[in-house]
């Protein structure tokens, strides 16, 4: 059995973002990068499945991006993926979801994966498109936003998260792609011996232009800080004065603490 998990590197969401020179993406220099939160769950689920099947499946981790994305590929290898694929693309931030999906689909097509895991969305762009579009391009069945996953002899039973705490039960057969939501499992931290072992695992680099030259279907024309519309007040200062002011505000604006 062959498994693939797709991961994206994203900046820490608490960063101070500002537009870059092109004006259509944020300035990337000076930001701290890590693995997209939803992809942590995808990696963990893929490794859990490999373990469930006695280690038999061959598990590849793939990331598209500039040189720095090798860091998260190494993390996934330390968690239990067998081999890494780095689709080298310094301009990935300016590609649209369709193009990114084409890179994944074109790579996966030759490899005949039985099951592909992705995150439900990327935190920086949040389009929630890449996984499903890759599945459609491959002609794979797909299920999205999974908070539950079981696998038995080619049959996947998933719990899809809907709104308000409701969940839908879906069944699909491999070859398939699933997108993972937070809470699906408890992602592990890589153990030190595994980090060392991972150093010996292969990471293959493929230039993006070797895989796909699909044209973009959408284009970002501008990125900007949204105007503040909130009408609330901002309180700053030392803790005890702040506490007094908050109590007064609660007294003035609610029926409480009277």
């Amino acid at each position: 059995m062959k498994l693939l998990v797709c991961i994206k590197q994203i900046p820490d969401m608490e960063s101070q973002f500002k537009p870059d020179e092109s004006g259509s993406w944020f300035e990337e220099s000076g930001l701290v990068y890590r693995m997209n939160e939803y992809d942590d769950y995808a990696v963990e689920q893929a490794v859990l499945l490999k373990e469930q099947l006695g280690g038999e499946p061959d598990l590849t981790v793939l990331s598209i991006g500039p040189d720095r994305v090798v860091e998260i590929i190494k993390k996934a290898l330390a968690i239990g993926c067998d081999r890494g694929v780095h689709i080298h693309d310094p301009a990935v931030a300016h590609k649209d979801p369709w193009q990114i999906a084409s890179l994944i689909a074109n790579f996966a097509k030759e490899q005949h994966y039985d099951l592909i895991f992705t995150g439900m969305q990327s935190q920086d762009r949040g389009s929630a498109q890449v996984g499903v579009m890759a599945a459609e391009q491959l002609g794979y069945a797909s299920a999205t936003t999974l908070v539950g996953f079981t696998y038995h002899e080619g049959l996947i039973t998933g719990l899809c998260e809907l709104e308000g705490g409701l969940k839908g039960i879906v069944k699909l057969r491999t070859p398939a792609l699933v997108t993972c939501q937070s809470g699906l499992n408890t992602p592990r931290y890589p153990a030190l011996p595994n980090i060392l072992k991972a150093k010996k695992k292969e990471i293959r680099t493929i230039p993006a232009s070797d895989l796909s030259r699909a044209a973009a279907l959408t284009a970002t024309t501008r990125i900007f800080k949204p105007e503040k519309k909130g009408s609330g007040i901002i309180l700053e200062g030392d803790t005890s004065t702040l506490a007094d002011r908050v109590i007064n505000l609660i007294r003035e604006n609610t029926t409480l603490l009277r």
Partner: protein, 304 residues
């Protein structure tokens, strides 16, 4: 211009958010038509053409069958836009339609200005303007971003059929968990976000809640981490609350969290980041470290 709106129903009832699609259609200055997988018992108040897929036959969720029927409508009506809600249903189906038609998709749109779409990114810290390069487009709109419009009237129903095969079986809804804590009627809620830092620190939240006579709530990462039980999660995939006082402690203010708290009376947010998006909805944003501020606040409440 013509827009195909994809409505939603859940367990036989039309979702009210369907009317937000008409709001988006107006912003696109276009003529709306509607597709709905639903039942005749839950029809929208709208006098135009309704392409109705019988949910009893085709399910409320079946990506392959619904995709096939939506593509039939697209072929017949040739709409300029196909608009979904950015909901579990829309997020799942929209990219399937965009990929089948090979047209651009814009996700989680919050505004439309002269055919350019405005989207949020980076946890609402930034916005993007996006243009679609293809003549037609698939759009998903952020729930709550567009004012609902109820067109009124009775729809002209066109019953949809398909004999397409489905690669995915919908086996029903999972029954709700054992005991649910209902925060819907709580008058005071103190909520913990990831900024609380550790499970131990949630004691600060429980303490304040006890002293104020309120309930404890939490953001999703806090329940995912097991710091507070799942049934206290607030937001689009948790509970919707409307307390007189909501105190958000170390919560950034992601849209999915805000969806659950926007009917609160008075919102106090405590966050060390002055620019946290929660400031957009909070009546008072206290710029402080929660682990220092909460003990001080608790002390003031106990010994005024």
């Amino acid at each position: 211009m013509k827009t195909l709106l994809i409505g939603e129903s859940r367990e036989g009832r039309l979702l009210n958010a369907t009317y937000e699609l008409f709001g988006a259609s107006e912003k696109l200055k276009s003529e709306p038509i509607l597709f709905l997988a639903g039942t005749e018992a839950g029809l929208p108040s709208y006098a135009g053409t309704l392409y109705l897929a019988d949910a009893k036959k085709y399910g409320e969720y079946n990506p392959d069958l619904h995709k096939n029927m939506i593509l039939q409508v697209v072929e017949k009506e040739n709409p300029d836009y196909v608009v979904f809600l950015h909901s579990s249903y829309g997020r799942d189906l929209a990219p399937r339609i965009a990929a089948s038609l090979r047209i651009g998709q814009v996700s989680e749109v919050v505004d439309i200005v002269d055919g350019t779409f405005e989207l949020t990114c980076c946890n609402a810290r930034m916005h993007r303007s996006v243009r679609v390069s293809t003549p037609r487009a698939v759009v998903t709109i952020q729930p709550g971003a567009f004012s609902p419009i109820r067109p009124g009237g009775t729809p002209l129903i066109q019953a949809m059929q398909t004999d397409a095969l489905s690669s995915i079986e919908f086996a029903g809804y999972e029954p709700a968990g054992p005991e649910q804590i209902d925060l819907g009627k709580a008058g005071i809620i103190i909520s913990a976000g990831r900024g609380i830092g550790t499970k131990e620190n949630t004691a600060l939240i429980w303490n304040l809640a006890r002293i104020l006579g309120g309930e404890v709530g939490a953001s999703r990462p806090v329940v995912d981490a097991g710091w507070i039980e799942h049934s206290r999660q607030i937001g689009s995939t948790g509970q919707t609350v409307s307390p007189e006082l909501y105190i958000a402690c170390g919560i950034s203010g992601a849209i999915q969290h805000l969806a659950g708290i926007k009917n609160s009376g008075y919102i106090v947010a405590i966050n060390k980041d002055r620019d946290a998006p929660i400031g957009e909805i909070a009546d008072a944003l206290v710029v402080a470290d929660v682990t220092q501020f909460l003990p001080a606040l608790t002390e003031r409440v106990t010994k005024p």
